[in-house]
């Protein structure tokens, strides 16, 4: 059996069997489902106004008398009491409020309540007041409101995308979500699994087994085996997460009689699902190979994890930089010059390109980026392996970048 395969097998199995892997694999979909529940709960308007609110209407002009319509949680009360009296009364009440409509200035209508009123409640009131006011104004102007209602159009704008396979309806929200999810997933997993590679290298070094291993295999074989093994662990975790998330949200979705987020997600990907998933996989794998090689080199250069700081910073800087730019700028301007360059340079491309892909990227740009990505990881792997082979046998040396440079130029 090939020795690299043997190393991959060990690296993979020892990690997948770990309790922390199993816990993470189960925990993340659970958190995901939980988050979905919370978001659904917050987004649900009705939850906003659950208790019955009594709205005391102070309207001395009596324009709105008996015209406001009660809903499930909002009941209107037309009292003849003064505003001051009502205000002192609702001060003691949790859910009641006063709607004050000044006779001569109805446009500065106000609500008074013990608590800040919720958006959906004031929306409801605003809508009703406007309808009533404009209705009576129309009547006053001699317009037949019934007729007006009949001829009033109801136009909704649907965004469409022109593609080769025909026009497609697009959901801008889903595109943003996808773009954001892609960037954040790549960013986090490059960190998490890159650090795992680094920790693995440090473990071999501090436990001193490294010398036994490199008397059996070439350092490059060991490094390759470790990177690929950890990468497969990452892929396994992704597949399990997606599968479990889909399952969990499917079950959760059934209960609330709503489409599950996984379903919505896949649906919003539409016909591009394969393309976008393919891009994600490519940038995940190539980005992981690129960064984990650097992480491996860092791990080989130090004696313990606490010493990694000075090297970690410059390595993670491009990632962090792109990530911050992604969530603030690239979203808005996925076709800007900055977005273009960031998605071409291999160090920043995985995150930047995943932001852009859902908005559509010209084929030549994608091709160029991917080619450079491959060249990039071949290059970093080569550089890293030259540092790695020296570093793993160095102990008790305070290493700086100059020293790493020297190692790079060492002969075999």
């Amino acid at each position: 059996m090939n020795k690299v395969l043997l190393i991959i097998q060990r690296e993979y199995l020892t990690r997948v069997r770990k309790r922390s892997f199993i816990v993470m694999t189960l925990l993340v979909p659970t958190l995901f489902a939980l988050m979905y529940k919370v978001v659904a709960y917050i987004a649900d308007d009705k939850n906003d106004v659950k208790a019955t609110h009594i709205v005391h209407v102070v309207d001395s002009a009596r324009i709105y008398q008996e015209k406001l319509i009660d809903s499930r949680y909002i009941k209107f009360d037309y009292s003849s009491r003064t505003l001051t009296a009502l205000k002192t009364e609702v001060k003691e009440q949790e859910n009641d409020l006063v709607l004050y409509i000044p006779t001569h200035k109805p446009e500065v209508t106000q609500i008074f309540a013990k608590k800040k009123s919720t958006l959906s409640l004031s929306d409801n009131l605003e809508r009703q007041l406007n309808d009533i006011a404009s209705g009576s104004a129309l009547v006053k102007a001699g317009i037949d409101t019934a007729r007006l209602h009949r001829i009033k159009s109801n136009i909704v704008v649907n965004a469409n995308e022109i593609t080769e396979t025909g026009d497609q309806s697009t959901n801008m929200g889903a595109t943003y979500a996808l773009s954001f999810a892609g960037a954040i997933l790549i960013y986090m997993s490059l960190f998490i699994y890159g650090a795992q590679v680094m920790r693995g290298v440090i473990e071999e070094k501090t436990s001193r087994i490294i010398e036994v291993i490199v008397s059996s295999v070439k350092p490059f074989q060991l490094m390759t085996g470790k990177i690929v093994g950890v990468g497969l662990v990452g892929l396994t975790q992704f597949v399990l997460w997606i599968g479990l998330s889909a399952l969990v949200s499917y079950i959760a979705g059934q209960n609330t009689a709503q489409a599950s987020p996984a379903y919505t997600f896949i649906h919003s990907l539409g016909a591009n699902a394969g393309y976008e998933l393919g891009c994600f996989l490519f940038y995940w794998i190539s980005g992981f190979l690129l960064y984990s090689a650097l992480f491996a080199a860092v791990g080989s250069a130090v004696d313990s994890e606490t010493e990694t700081q000075q090297f970690m910073f410059p390595i993670t800087l491009p990632l962090l930089f792109t990530y911050i730019l992604s969530v603030s700028y690239l979203f808005q301007k996925p076709d800007s010059t900055l977005a273009f360059w960031l998605s071409i340079i291999p160090l920043t491309a995985p995150v930047a390109m995943m932001v852009r892909v859902p908005f559509g990227v010209p084929a030549w740009e994608l091709g160029l980026s991917m080619t450079l990505m491959i060249a990039g990881f071949v290059f970093t792997t080569w550089v890293a392996s030259r540092i790695y082979r020296v570093g793993i046998l160095m102990y008790g040396k305070k290493v700086n970048f100059k020293e790493l440079g020297k190692w790079f130029f060492y002969k075999e």
Binding site: K3, L6, S207, E211, V212, S215
Partner: protein, 306 residues
């Protein structure tokens, strides 16, 4: 078996090995001696192909050292270590498979070794659950499991308690008897005369002495003898065929002297001179131990560099 020719290894700032050559014969127990930092580990790493020399060549059974030879060599580094979180059985099999053994074969041999060294119950234990001595025993097994032709041990006895050190020593000798060539480095001389057929002494990156233990010791003979006699205490006036080194040690009637033969005389001449005067209990040639040779050589080398 192993032929090391003109090896030079340069590290930034210092030369770890400078034109070192040596020959290890098949079936030998070869001792690589030298003070700490002399370059022993650098040489061992080159033989293990962990690093490559800047110049010079290594031949293994007449062939230029290459990747195929890795499986024929077993290596126990000075700094021992295993994966702490991994079960010992699984780990031994992994290491053996990296040396080219099949899983089934590794399992079979491991069972044999575990039985032999009283480790049967350890199989499922993690390394971190074992004592340091137990870990070292396990590591020794890992070194020899693939039945290498050449076993390289860097400071093999450091870290072992006396009982385990004895067990390991016996196992090394047993493997040697079965045909394995042993190369071990040490800076402790006690084990050398007992174990080694041949040695090389490395000091300050140079080989300053090598050969079989017997030849080296013979070449350091200095015509010095220890004589114990009974009877009257003798005083010497210079007419005898030897010089007396130091004082006469007297214990009751028995006197012991250290002598150095004068040029052209043999031990027989000593006896002929003494027998008429006293009764001889003992006459023994004093051959310097490896320890003395080591110190003498290293000191001489230090002086020549000053």
């Amino acid at each position: 078996m192993l032929s090391i020719r003109n090896i030079v290894k340069q590290y930034a700032g210092h030369r770890a090995l400078d034109d070192v050559s040596l020959e290890v014969q098949s079936g030998q127990v070869f001792g690589l001696l030298g003070p700490n930092g002399a370059g022993k580990t650098s040489l061992i790493r080159i033989i293990n192909q962990i690093t490559a020399p800047d110049s010079g060549e290594v031949f293994f059974n007449g062939q230029k050292l290459n990747q195929a030879h890795i499986e024929r060599i077993g290596y126990l580094p000075e700094e021992r270590g295993l994966y702490k979180k991994m079960e010992i059985g699984e780990q031994m099999i992994y290491l053996a498979r990296l040396k080219g053994l099949s899983r089934a074969e590794a399992q079979k041999r491991l069972k044999f070794w575990f039985d032999k060294l009283g480790m049967e119950t350890w199989w499922k234990k993690k390394i971190e659950e074992l004592s340091k001595g137990m870990q070292q025993k396990a590591q020794f097994v890992a070194t020899v499991l693939h039945e290498p032709d050449l076993i390289i041990l860097d400071e093999p006895f450091s870290g072992f308690d006396p009982v385990n050190a004895e067990i390991i020593k016996d196992e090394i000798l047993a493997l040697n008897k079965k045909g394995a060539t042993i190369l071990f480095s040490t800076h402790r001389m006690e084990s050398v005369e007992e174990l080694c057929d041949a040695i090389a002494l490395i000091h300050q990156s140079h080989k300053i002495l090598d050969g079989t233990v017997k030849n080296i010791r013979n070449s350091y003979r200095s015509e010095t003898y220890m004589v114990e006699y009974a009877g009257q205490r003798l005083s010497f006036n210079g007419a005898q065929p030897f010089d007396v080194i130091g004082d006469t040690i007297t214990d009751d009637d028995n006197h012991t002297i250290r002598i150095k033969l004068n040029e052209g005389y043999t031990s027989n001449d000593v006896l002929q001179y003494l027998i008429p005067q006293v009764r001889i209990n003992m006459l023994q040639e004093v051959i310097p131990g490896m320890h003395e040779i080591f110190i003498e050589k290293v000191n001489a080398n230090n002086k020549s560099h000053e």
